[in-house]
């Protein structure tokens, strides 16, 4: 579960960018000031250099299963390659980027951040500041297991990846319903809106800026606009002015049919799950379907819970491992990124008991035994396999869309 906190760090970050722009440093993203790229060398040379290095992986630390997977599975595997993997938990990935930007500004080339779990806005900000090492993922032997044409892995919330980060996980947004109560489930977002009006009080969504509630806004935006092709990935005020009012009008119209007549919304996903578990509403939603499968298995959510298959697919995204341009243990960071991408590690963390993160490797490219192990992973009656879930996955909107949509929802839907 990844949450975003609009914190001070964002403001601080802005200041740093402004300061570095004023201090005569090459204009970020300007022509000629190419992003720093990894030296050309053989993988054996990288492995030899990595031996004995300590890699500091800065990652969002709110996901206990993720922390445990890194400490108990990934780190021991890295140790076998002679690399010590140290996890630095942060409340917000922007904290890691702040440290990197400070170091770059000070001209520090033995940086303390070697690897960052990142996607979306933080990746885009880092690219603008030339903070990431680029053109290195092609060096990773494990990239042969990745589909080079996979749109989720070539563009990160609208920003081209360009070998500046190695894929780590995929995620899929899903809605789920209680099949004991809903016998004729809606088959598209538009049908869902009709269902809500026909069944007043049985649906609600977490109030944006909750991460899941915000994803629901984007999913609803695609439906109202007529599909992902109708909304440009890059934020654009004109496009926003055209599509967003329709979205807010539709959601305001739905509000009286929501739980508690839309006068209040669950404050976060956990609150929505409690309402769903307590049979106050008939549907829930999540960007982490593996968690859903676990909650059904543990009895926290009803056994009759099923993922709602939607025509036109749902939002999908990927998250990545990026190496700062000044990482002190760069070779070690590359070795860990390659290890994390290996079919064995992708399989280990796909196990719902370990972490339940969807693989970024293409199952048609991995060794046959790994593929069958993937297929043998415990399946859940509640959640279909990833291949089915991710069919027609909708690309995520650019990071620039998130805040305007959330602000608009607050004034036009919540306050309207």
């Amino acid at each position: 579960m990844r949450t975003r906190r609009p914190t001070l760090s964002a403001a601080v970050l802005g200041t740093v960018l402004a300061v570095s722009a004023c201090s005569g440093a090459p204009e970020p993203g300007s022509e000629g000031a190419a992003a720093p790229s990894a030296p050309d060398r053989s993988w054996d040379e990288v492995l030899a250099e990595a031996d004995g290095q300590t890699v500091d992986l800065w990652m969002y630390g709110g996901d206990q299963q993720g922390n445990t997977y890194v400490d108990d599975v990934l780190a021991p595997a890295a140790a076998e390659l002679g690399v010590t993997l140290r996890r630095v938990p942060v409340a917000d990935t922007a904290d890691a980027l702040n440290r990197v930007l400070s170091e770059l500004q000070a001209g520090e080339d033995d940086g303390s951040v070697d690897l960052v779990w990142v996607n979306g806005e933080n990746f885009a900000t880092g690219r603008q500041a030339d903070a990431w090492l680029c053109d290195w993922t092609a060096q990773l032997p494990a990239m042969e297991f990745v589909d080079p044409e996979d749109p989720l892995l070539t563009s990160d919330f609208g920003t081209p990846v360009d070998g500046c980060e190695a894929p780590w996980h995929k995620a899929q947004f899903v809605l789920a319903y209680d099949s004991a109560d809903v016998t004729d489930p809606p088959a598209s977002m538009t049908e869902l809106f009709d269902w809500i009006e026909a069944n007043p009080g049985r649906f609600t969504y977490p109030a944006p800026p909750d991460f899941t509630g915000s994803a629901f806004l984007r999913q609803a935006l695609y439906a109202v606009a007529g599909g992902p092709d109708e909304v440009p990935a890059e934020f654009d005020q004109a496009a926003f002015d055209e599509v967003a009012p329709q979205l807010f009008e539709r959601l305001s119209g739905l509000a009286p049919s929501l739980w508690r007549a839309g006068e209040t919304y669950p404050r976060d996903l956990a609150a929505l799950e409690e309402l769903y578990a307590g049979d106050q509403v008939d549907m829930t939603m999540t960007y982490g379907p593996a968690t859903l499968a676990q909650q059904v298995a543990s009895g926290a959510l009803p056994e009759s819970t099923r993922v709602l298959p939607l025509d036109g697919g749902t939002l999908g995204n990927a998250s990545f491992l990026a190496v700062p341009a000044n990482a002190g243990d760069q070779a070690g960071a590359l070795v860990v990124a390659d290890l994390a991408l290996s079919p064995e590690q992708q399989l280990a963390k796909a196990d719902p008991a370990a972490w339940g993160q969807y693989p970024v490797v293409d199952l048609d490219r991995v060794p046959a035994d790994v593929r069958s192990a993937f297929e043998a992973l415990p399946s859940s009656p509640a959640v279909p396999p990833f291949a089915e879930l991710s069919r027609d996955a909708d690309p995520e909107l650019g990071a620039g869309w998130v805040a305007p949509l959330e602000d608009g929802w607050r004034t036009d839907v919540l306050g309207g």
Partner: protein
């Protein structure tokens, strides 16, 4: 009449103490409950399942190591900021200081300029100066703690009778003996209070530890910050938070005891 007033006052003390205790204890109640809850669904008044999941999770997330690192950081800050504060406080209280106003303003400035506002600049500065992250962290936090230690020690020295030291010297004690047998014992309660406050500055810091310290030291506040940024972590956050509350409470009790002994 003369006896009635104290009796009336004594009667009013009990509710006041109760209020003060409630002020301290009430915020801890949900923490205590969550730390013993395996499951606490929304409308329920009390947890529905009791257990130690939160504590097991806290141990699994590295709370033990973080506790040790937080103690070390607090002690290091106290060890630097307390003597520095004592020297500055004594000078301000007992001696003529040139440009006194300016010196006082400078010593208090770190309180007026909160660390998070200047943390990026400080990071760049210490990196350029080539100071290792952990050393820079202790230095920056010690400067942040200085206003508190200076303030406490200055008040203490304002009520301090230098006559005792002079007396000892007349009786033949050397500077070392005066410091160890007269000055420090007399200043001990105030020193303990100042050290406690300085310890807290190191104990409770998040942003300087992370950004100036460069993530080298993973402390309790970093764990609390990271874990509490997600939903569903209430039990483990409660367990780690309680772990973070206990050492300061113990120190507070120790400081109070010392102050009492000093007063006697």
């Amino acid at each position: 009449m003369t006896r009635a007033a104290p009796a009336w006052r004594r009667a009013a003390v009990a509710p006041r103490v109760a209020l003060a205790l409630a002020w301290l204890a009430v915020p801890l109640v949900p923490l205590l409950l969550w730390a013993a809850a395996d499951r606490w669904p929304f409308p329920a008044v009390l947890p529905t399942d009791w257990g130690l999941t939160g504590w097991r999770q806290a141990a699994g997330q590295g709370a033990g190591g973080a506790l040790g690192r937080s103690v070390l950081l607090g002690l290091a800050v106290a060890a630097l900021a307390t003597p520095a504060g004592a020297m500055a406080g004594r000078a301000l209280a007992l001696h003529r200081v040139p440009a006194r106003r300016l010196v006082e303003a400078l010593l208090l400035a770190p309180v007026a300029v909160p660390p998070f506002a200047v943390v990026m600049g400080l990071t760049t500065l210490t990196l350029r100066a080539g100071v290792p992250g952990t050393v820079a962290l202790v230095l920056v936090l010690s400067v942040s703690a200085l206003p508190y230690t200076v303030f406490v020690m200055r008040s203490a020295y304002a009520g301090y009778d230098v006559g005792f030291e002079e007396e000892a010297r007349t009786l033949g004690a050397g500077p070392r003996a005066v410091l160890l047998r007269v000055h420090l014992p007399l200043a001990a309660p105030a020193l303990a209070t100042a050290a406690f406050l300085a310890f807290l500055v190191g104990w409770s810091d998040y942003v300087v530890t992370l950004v100036v310290g460069g993530g080298q030291l993973v402390t309790l506040p970093m764990l609390v910050g990271a874990l509490s940024s997600a939903t569903g972590n209430d039990a483990v956050v409660a367990a780690v938070s309680l772990t973070a509350v206990v050492p300061p409470l113990l120190l507070l009790a120790a400081t109070a005891l010392l102050a009492r002994r000093g007063a006697r």
